[in-house]
Symmetry: C2
Subunit: 386 residues, 2 copies
């Protein structure tokens, strides 16, 4: 297999984009990535989208978006793995380039979520859980993650303050990200006193509903060296894993096994350990998720994730491993299918030294972790620059 | 890239399966394929599904189905390209094996369509067209294909009788397929006199609404030679292409450019010409579609597809190139995401000499063509046995 580089990245401003359509926001992000890469053609395309059928009445999005980008007749395929759709699309793009099937591959992610009512949006999101055995009984994602939070508090003594510190940290990072949906800081008190969503989680423990898109351009490292004027960022590890779809089928509610499994394989492929990771974008759909993910990735011992966040060990430029320098899902927003692609955008910018105010000095190895549902699927990528 | 073989195939009986759930029919087909392959493990999985979100309120189907097959923690990814979702999933499976990423890959397709009302089902299917510029104005697929049919009649003198002969032929083939939804023969008069759906198309010009699943197991040819006791069926060509999503954007309504583009690449990769194809499964969502596809694949000159069908040149054991020996979408049924995978099941059985009453004697090279919408996406595969 060939070595694969990220040679272009693009985003749109995320938020409630009522004046723009699904196809428009995708095209905007994709053109930004193509411009950034400086390529004059694209050979193949993957799109990560979770539920465009329910959100905007549109399936067949690979063909639609290739058409509106002016890229037909190239192959264009939509990939879905709930909230990990973007990460899964990146992985398919990686395999396509690594295998020699295509030279220059566009991977985009997009979701347009705000065209529906709150109730309809909650229904659409719940399709990532087990419809017949979880959703049917009335539970949705805030409730499922609240169960995980309660179990983590019970097992490890994790506190509400520790969870709140994840939100505070991600808004601190996100307030320096011009593309973030909520680019402002919040206090611990604001998180703790915001309205209750599903006990113990409050509104500011939850990632928002977002319209947005992100895109990257992949090509073989050999080609990247010829055409790119920017530092070469390689994808040196990729892995994907599954777990039970229903939370109630797990032996331990607080252990994200699919993340641990994918991370183990990705570390092995990249010949890295958790200690080598200098910057990471991970799936903080709820504050408790970030805590569990940092443990499953091996950044911290089990039960230590909350304490580590509270101590600033995941904050930028504090000597630890900064997590979610983009603001994460919490502050940057979470347009489902776009999230996993945007994680690669942020890490690429960090490794290139292009992250502006959010730059982690000297970062050369980064990781992305994108997760579907309550962890029924996870995709992990490890990136490196020379 | 490594050579790839199909070592296992599985189906369910297709039809209105009200007593079975989405996950059940997938598991049934997948277990049949695993049994047929005789493998004791699966390393990775792809699922083709068009609109499970709308049809059964379930996205995240890769993880769901891996879980219910007992295959977690393997990577499992859902692939969507409207009615070409199954073909697109086969292509991702091919690339995964060819690249050396995985050894034994399960590719399944599934759709559960009959849980919705007719109106809701029509809405779900219309998400394969351009929601904003076609569907919004009230047209759905029978109307779009009726436009293609009228244009074909106008340009080439194609007759209603010729279209009807496609339905007659596919039901003749399908009446020998125990898994078909409508395994019975129909007369030309029955087709012509069935109720009008969208002029000139009548009910028996249209493929039905179907619940069903199909699955195949892929592995490297070298491994297949060691573990399989059946004739080795190789995938020697794969290609995918796109065209404008909206029919009104095309220069010529009757020319399926994405099919012609994908076929050209697949023939080149396989080092075959249309004349080498001895049996083909193609996308007859409407009778006129089969006529246009046989022209775009180069089986017949432009405008000759209707005449060729009427003359029996696409009928089993008549010395031509039999098309849709399974009964096609028309008689076997069309559970959207399953269709492209089931095409590979049929061709594999034909090349193995396992097609029973439907066997085309001595077939060694076969082709599948799976198409999304009115041809905005197409996936073509060419298979061969020694």
């Amino acid at each position: 297999m060939r070595e694969v580089a990220v040679i272009g990245v693009g985003m749109t401003k995320w938020g409630e984009l009522w004046e723009k359509s699904f196809r428009q926001i995708f095209v905007e992000a994709a053109l930004n990535a193509i411009d950034d890469a400086g390529v004059d053609r694209v050979d193949s395309m993957y799109v990560g989208t979770m539920s465009s059928g329910i959100f905007v009445g549109q399936e067949h999005v690979g063909a639609l978006l290739a058409d509106y980008l002016g890229l037909a007749p190239i192959p264009a395929t939509r990939v879905e793995s709930a909230c990990a759709s973007g990460g899964a699309a990146v992985r398919q793009g990686f395999i396509e380039v690594a295998s020699g099937t295509s030279e220059i591959v566009l991977v985009g992610g997009v979701e347009k979520m705000t065209d529906l009512s709150a109730g309809e949006t909650t229904y659409a999101l719940a399709t990532a859980a087990d419809q017949e055995y979880e959703v049917y009984h009335g539970i949705t994602f805030p409730g499922l993650y609240a169960l995980i939070a309660r179990a983590h508090m019970e097992q490890f003594g994790t506190t509400r303050e520790q969870m709140a510190s994840v939100a505070v940290k991600n808004h601190f990072h996100g307030h320096m990200n011009p593309n973030a949906q909520y680019p402002f800081e919040v206090t611990k008190e604001a998180v703790l006193n915001s309205s209750k969503v599903a006990d113990p989680l409050t509104l500011l423990d939850c990632s928002p509903i977002t319209d947005g898109s992100a895109a990257i351009i992949l090509c073989p490292v050999e080609l990247a060296k010829k055409i790119s004027k920017k530092p070469i960022v390689k994808i040196i590890g990729t892995a994907q894993a599954t777990d039970t779809i229903a939370l109630h089928s797990r032996k331990d509610l607080t252990w994200l096994k699919s993340t641990a499994d994918a991370a183990e394989k990705a570390y092995k492929m990249a010949e890295k350990t958790p200690k080598d990771i200098q910057v990471a974008e991970i799936h903080d759909c709820f504050t408790i998720a970030e805590i569990c993910v940092t443990e499953a990735l091996g950044f911290f011992e089990r039960g230590e994730g909350g304490k580590a966040a509270e101590e600033g060990r995941t904050t930028l430029c504090r000597g630890g491993t900064p997590v979610n320098t983009s603001g994460g899902l919490k502050s940057k927003g979470h347009p489902i299918g776009a999230t996993g692609v945007a994680q690669v955008v942020e890490i690429t910018q960090q490794l290139r030294g292009e992250a502006g105010e959010r730059q982690e000095t000297g970062a050369r190895v980064g990781l992305t972790q994108n997760m579907g549902g309550t962890g029924a699927s996870t995709v992990v990528h490890i990136l490196e620059t020379d």
